[in-house]
């Protein structure tokens, strides 16, 4: 570990993201200080994602698997890392410059905090710009606990447990579990993640998965509330 890197690992699950993954990995590896370990779990891509990964920076490790879904890929990534602090990113989103340093400072200053969130800013991917005309994309920075905004201690991730492999959209459920686990979360008042809007993530099938994911997360949130009360 050089002086310009920190004991942070980032897990990226990817599937067929040849268009955007390169930019995603650059945004992570370009952080100052940089994470010492970036694990990309390629969940059975059959496009040019492997070519993109071959050209990735040295700190990027690639694990390939047959397609098993986002939860299985994220869990495999978590199992493969040993850093004290963990970050995440969807394979089409971007970490903003300076984000890691800011969130890390909070974790260092206050040992009682188990994770740090931040703001997310959505943007219409330039290569599909005409979608912005037909969709209501809110591009103002907003607080929203998309997984890619969170920087958590390893101990937090372990306490929350694995991503649920029975869910198509396990990230929402994991975030809900993290926030209802009793772990203290803080947040930085700046954009930490730029969330790319493009045609691949706004399909009807994804909408149905989203719907199921949100209902499952709500159900679990309530179950946990009832256990606590």
């Amino acid at each position: 570990m050089t002086s310009a890197s920190v004991d942070v690992a980032v897990v990226v699950a990817t599937y067929n993201s040849e268009r955007y993954l390169g930019e995603t990995l650059e945004s992570i590896c370009a952080q100052h200080p940089a994470p010492r370990d970036v694990v990309v779990v390629d969940d059975g891509s059959d496009d040019r994602t492997p070519d993109v990964l071959r050209r990735a920076p040295n700190t990027v490790r690639v694990l390939r698997q047959e397609r098993r879904g986002a939860a299985a890929a994220l869990n495999r990534g978590l199992d493969a890392i040993d850093a004290d602090i963990v970050g995440f990113c969807d394979d089409d989103d971007l970490w903003t410059p300076g984000r890691l340093a800011h969130q890390l400072a909070i974790l260092r200053d206050d040992p009682s905090i188990g994770g740090v969130a931040g703001l997310v800013e959505q943007f219409v991917s330039p290569d599909v710009a005409d979608i912005g005309v037909r969709m209501h994309v809110d591009t103002a920075p907003q607080f929203g606990r998309v997984l890619g905004t969170l920087l958590v201690r390893r101990t937090t991730a372990d306490a929350v447990g694995p991503f649920d492999e029975e869910l198509d959209m396990p990230q929402i459920d994991w975030v809900v579990r993290a926030y209802t686990s009793g772990v203290r979360f803080a947040s930085v008042d700046q954009v930490v993640l730029r969330r790319r809007i493009h045609d691949n993530n706004w399909s009807l099938l994804n909408a149905q998965k989203s719907q199921a994911g949100l209902l499952a997360a709500a159900r679990r949130d309530r179950e946990r509330r009832l256990r606590v009360d």
Binding site: I131, D138, V176, A207, L214, L215, R219, D221
Partner: protein, 146 residues
């Protein structure tokens, strides 16, 4: 005066029932709601257009009660659901009764229907892709350039 008919305000409201419990989410506000028992049964009755009176009539035997015994509470709960914009008024053709969509299994003991509301996951709901679609439907992929 004819009792007004209502129905769940889809697609802005999504919902799911598992056994005795309904979870509903208002995608516009990010609030999620939970309803159990009698509340869940009332909700399910409004997944197709229904009047409060018809729902009371349909549910009462399920709880081994007279419709009169539960009518007020059903009306009150319907008003609550309307206040939260979970139900929307609809026109119903004809003067026929609107049916309630509850199966015949026994309903257990009637308790005053309650609506639980939580905003814990509002930011997650509001950022979810399901929001960002125009009235025309889903965006189609632009024709790939040759």
């Amino acid at each position: 005066m004819r009792d007004a008919a209502f129905v769940v305000r889809t697609p802005a409201v999504i919902h799911e029932r598992l056994d005795d419990e309904v979870i509903a989410i208002d995608l516009e506000r990010g609030i999620y709601y939970a309803m159990v028992g009698s509340a869940a049964d009332i909700w399910t009755s409004f997944t197709t257009p229904a009047t409060a009176d018809a729902v009371a009539d349909a549910l009462a035997p399920r709880y081994r009660l007279d419709a009169g015994a539960i009518r007020d509470e059903v009306h009150k709960f319907v008003a609550r659901l309307q206040d939260e914009r979970l139900l929307v008024a609809v026109e119903v053709d004809g003067a026929g009764e609107v049916g309630a969509t509850i199966d015949g299994t026994p309903g257990g003991r009637w308790a005053t229907p309650e609506l639980e509301a939580y905003d814990d996951i509002a930011d997650l709901v509001l950022l979810d892709p399901i929001h960002q679609v125009d009235e025309a439907g889903w965006p189609h992929v632009p024709n790939p350039s040759p």
